[in-house]
Amino acid sequence: MRRMPRLALGAGALALAVAAGLAGCAAAGAGTGTNSSPAVSAPTDAAPATITVFAAASLTDAFDELARQYEHAHPNVDVVLNSGGSAALAQQVVEGAPADVFASAAEGPMQTLVDAGLATDPAVFATNTLQLAVPAGNRAGVTGLADLARAELRIALCDESVPCGAASAKLLAQARVTASPDTLESDVRAVLTKVSLGEVDAALVYRTDVLAAGDAVEGIDVPGAASVVNRYPIAALDGAPDAAAGFVAFVTGPAGRAVLAEAGFGAP
């Protein structure tokens, strides 16, 4: 399994744009194409295949493990993982990024792909809820959501354009807390990093992120979190090789379930 360097996408897009321009079809409507890039569209049957999986940032560790297990069971398949904010990933796919599977942290970004005619029948495969995350030691003495309103604390939240941010906003509104964030990050792992580095006193992330961060981060359960549930859909994108559907079946099947449960995700 390889991790796809994010830059490769940009460089590839530039090369494509130039090539398209040289071929005489510059600009006009470019970009809203399909996801079937010749570079990754895989050969048929059991021939070696590469599938590119775009997964929500919160799925990073679980999908690392899932990809490893899937590759072990299917030696002819190479799974390339690209993780990031669900909204950004969905947008990249709409703009023609060569993804075969999309796993989102909420139904909104997946709907973007369904609406664009790039995915059909996504299946919800996991759920997640939020938790307060504080650096090990909790020097600021954070105990609950109300602490997020303390102006003297450094607070990180997800931007509302990404699923964890939308869920955070909902949770805060429900608890009638007006948070005073110092930064609004574009994916949940960027928020988590700020906590594990100790740069912020508290943040809202998924409980799975707190688990993944190990000893550097402490999680604090907050009342009401159970009612703000993120549902994670996955789909093989239209035109993807068969192995993509195979990977989706693996993730939604018992083996995938086990890995996800281990990482702290709830059942759909």
């Binding site: 530039l14 744009a17 321009g21 964030p181 110092d182 930064t183 609004l184 574009s186 740069e199």
Partner: protein, 257 residues
């Protein structure tokens, strides 16, 4: 040969052509009048101006030192030059991480600032300016150093023999001589600061009105509202072009037509 040159030109120009072609021109006034856009615009201008000012104050003396170092032994001279060059070739994100390691709450200096003075630097507009200074200072230093090296040093010597103090020589002889270089450096510095993204988002974070500059706003908008992202990108493009066009004949030999 020519074909390759045309290809090279295409690499440079076509993406910008596409940006302009895909721009939502009809909605542009509405998009640019949004509060989020105006906030980012004001923040970007204020921070980039502050960064340019800081670069001038810090960079001109450093350039003078660098120009004088021509007479130094090889090793310290090369070390000095390397220290100024590194931020120029370093990926800005690395600069952001480095700044965080220095000035973050658990950083080398940041932990002292926090414990003794209760000051935290990251996530402030000041952090945005620092990130911009880090990436843009070399532009100013090298522009000024180039001007200093090509200036006729004999006039300085003449002023000194006529009894001028070192400060007077610098203020009344050296500075006017290198003014075009300083101005060119300041323009490059401002443009680079305005476009700064990687170090800023890593070190300063992203909060509307405080640290979310135009490039960061544009990047984030791309996730939820591509039209706004394109509008912001156009705005940055327009500013860059305006800066270059406005000063091309006077101070930037590289773009003289």
């Amino acid at each position: 040969m020519t074909a390759v040159a045309v290809l090279a030109l295409a690499v440079l120009v076509l993406p910008l052509v596409a940006l302009v072609a895909r721009a939502p021109w009809a909605e542009l006034p509405e998009l640019l009048a949004r509060e989020s856009v105006l906030q980012a615009l004001v923040l970007s201008f204020v921070t980039a101006t502050a960064a340019t000012g800081l670069c001038l104050v810090l960079g001109v003396p450093l350039a003078t030192l660098l120009a004088r170092a021509a007479d130094w032994p090889t090793v310290p001279r090369r070390l000095l030059r390397a220290a100024v060059t590194v931020p120029l070739v370093l990926p800005p994100v690395v600069g952001g991480i480095a700044l965080l390691m220095l000035l973050g709450r658990r950083g080398l200096v940041g932990s002292v600032l926090e414990d003794w003075f209760g000051v935290t630097v990251p996530f402030t507009s000041g952090a945005v300016v620092l990130a911009q200074v880090f990436v843009s200072l070399p532009f100013l230093v090298f522009a000024v150093e180039g001007a200093l090296r090509s200036a006729d040093r004999r006039t300085e010597g003449a002023a000194a023999t006529l009894g001028a103090s070192r400060w007077q020589v610098f203020r009344h002889v050296t500075l006017p001589l290198v003014a075009p270089g300083v101005a060119a450096g300041a323009v490059l510095c401002f443009s680079r600061a305005l476009g700064e993204f990687g170090a800023t988002i890593t070190f300063a974070g992203s909060l509307p009105g405080v640290t979310r500059t135009l490039p960061i706003a544009s990047y984030l908008a791309m996730q939820s509202d591509p039209d706004e992202a394109v509008a912001l990108a156009l705005l940055l493009l327009a500013v860059s072009v305006a800066v270059l066009l406005g000063l091309r004949d006077r101070w930037l030999p590289g773009v003289r037509g």
